[in-house]
Symmetry: C2
Subunit: 382 residues, 2 copies
């Protein structure tokens, strides 16, 4: 799958002073210093807590950002789609872990091809006995076994088997040809955005208690599970306290979107992460008295969560509203100066993961300057 990346129309701005405000819009913008501070803060937290990091790249889908996370000490990356895992493995990223079970014949064939190609510690979750059997059969004759974790439903009800069903599945993997039992996964997606920290903590610790029971049961059955993986940006400081996870799959901390900024805005426990991701949009319509019209709409921002929040270039107190596929409304306070036709405004992204997936490039800025352009390598990869 050789792919030539298309070229961003902003290449000519690289290194040019003030280039950030001249970006051809709409454009995804990442503040490199803020990104690196977020990566360093999570790495320091994990080191202090004695827990490993396998950050989730579903958020950024970028080899360049994965490399920065690895350089800060991460032992690998987590991927939700097989297409993401293929991109990461082919880029030489170590410790690639697939967090959603591959099930169809098409996916199992691709997974087996990936497992037979050079990789540096690929692992995958399974949550059903039929998949254990199918993957084992598909790996017939493989030179090395594939690392498998059993996906346990942490209460979200999405993927994962019940905690009660887990021991039998763990046993099935242990006994299956071509598979190597590597651990269990329990991702509490439903707890990440619980707005009250005390409730988030209480529910996280209760889940940990149930997982601890499962681990005791597996130990008694002589089924070693070296890895216990889970956790997210919403519970990054609660999961280590539970002392059941060996590693965290945190993702959104690299960017911090409106959704997480709202959910984690608990005064005394504000997370040590800052906004690093924006979408730059230009004012293209000034004919309406009540608002300005911008060139970023619902093909540029995730629409299922909160709204984008105007930041750099917009008067304080401005609000953004969707206005169709390719346009937005920018409401500016009546006592503020109206941005001019053509002015570039940056917005904090509403939900970072699906916003990133709408863009081909990160325009990497250092202050006012465009310093690098990184492809969104795994955009749209399933």
């Amino acid at each position: 799958m050789s792919e030539v990346q298309p070229t961003s129309p902003n290449v000519a701005l690289l290194g040019r002073p003030g280039g950030r405000a001249m970006l051809d819009t709409p454009a995804l913008v990442v503040d490199r210093a803020a990104l690196d501070r977020n990566i360093a803060a999570m790495a320091a937290h994990a080191r202090a807590a004695g827990i490993a990091l396998r950050p989730h790249i579903k958020t950024h889908k970028s080899v360049a950002i994965a490399r920065r996370q690895l350089a800060a000490g991460a032992l690998g990356v987590s991927c939700v789609t097989l297409g993401e895992a293929e991109i990461m493995v082919r880029a030489g990223i170590p410790g690639v872990h697939l967090t959603s079970p591959p099930v169809t014949a098409a996916k199992l064939a691709r997974l087996v091809a990936l497992a037979r190609a050079p990789h540096r510690g690929l692992s995958v979750v399974i949550d059903h006995a039929d998949t254990v059997a199918a993957l084992s059969a598909a790996l017939l004759g493989a030179s090395a076994p594939l690392a498998v974790l059993i996906d346990v439903d942490a209460g979200q009800g999405r993927t994962g088997c019940t905690i009660e069903a887990a021991p039998a599945l763990v046993r099935a993997v242990q006994d299956a040809h071509g598979l190597r039992l590597a651990g269990i996964q329990a991702y509490a997606g439903h707890l990440q955005h619980v707005a009250i920290r005390a409730e988030r903590r209480e529910r996280s610790l209760r889940l940990a208690e149930r997982l601890r029971g499962l681990l005791r049961q597996l130990a008694a059955m002589d089924l070693p599970v070296p890895i216990v993986t889970g956790g997210g940006t919403g519970t990054f400081d609660l999961d280590p306290e539970a002392r059941v996870f060996t590693e965290l799959q945190v993702g959104s901390y690299v960017f911090m979107d409106v959704e997480y900024l709202q959910a984690l805005a608990d005064g005394r426990n504000a997370p040590p992460f800052e906004t690093a991701l924006f979408v730059a949009t230009a004012v293209i319509g000034v004919n309406q008295p009540a608002y300005l019209v911008t060139d970023a709409g619902l093909k540029c921002f995730a629409t299922e969560g909160p709204r984008p929040e105007p930041a750099r270039g917009a008067p304080s107190g401005s609000r953004y509203a969707f206005f169709g596929d390719e346009h937005g409304k920018l409401f500016v306070p009546t006592d503020a100066a109206r941005p001019a036709l053509g002015a570039v405004i940056e917005c904090v992204t509403p939900h970072c993961d699906p916003t990133v997936n709408l863009h081909d490039f990160y325009h990497v800025v250092d202050g006012d300057t465009l310093v690098e352009i990184w492809p969104v390598d795994a955009r749209g990869k399933r």
Copy 2:
């Protein structure tokens, strides 16, 4: 900007009987016969009504589909982003019209480059005097003038000048160096989904009356506007009746999504278009008693409108709900047979335009067979 398209993982299924149900999911699926019937029905309607078609390719972003529309008699295509127009012009598509005003220095530079390259009748809208001046200055020394239409706000309040301000802008284009006055545009986006046909008709005809007044005024000022463009799938049969438009910018009729199927579901006046677009998703989780888990979430479907509707492969009466970035919930009636782990289900797309923009390929089917794979050429192009 030379671009090598990545390869769909479904290439191996081309021509294989039953391949449609074996697609590597999630996958965008287009029913070629239904697509062609929709294109033919709109072409026949336009011919009978004596109105031209310049279909909007923001819906499909595909050169292959644009060619089918041209083969059925369309005189060109409409594009909302300059990136779409670049793709269409470079593919040799004639009559490319840009329906949103280019404003920033970056966009004007790209537009001028496109206008100086070989094209077969490029046109663009403007809605502000500053842009008339800027584009005229940027085109200094160009060998041929660029066709410009004045964008008039049809009541949606998005792009476009007021009807009252239009004559002065039309005059400015007429007088500007490097520009050729080609017409006016009035797109009534706000009327397309008005659910009651009688109201849609009444408001469309009222708008037409106002535009007719503008055209009389321009004629009296000796400002010829040969083209009057606008209209959409929601008013395709009302706009010709108004006898003010010379051409229609209809887009969604090629696919018919849940949004339009709901809006136009007026018994006696059901439109002659049928669903031609689906997203194929696989059942990847069967551990929950209340629902199945699928592999298509909010990175595969537009989320700002109605929900996807389960169709082929799903028991009648099934419902779909979003379940995060990469997963969906499929609720199946209790008395129906549950689809098996790995089964492929197709869903009607909620809002077709932003759904298509999330995919790299159309998997083109004829009955049960995958017969072609078309790239979504202008996906993500701004």
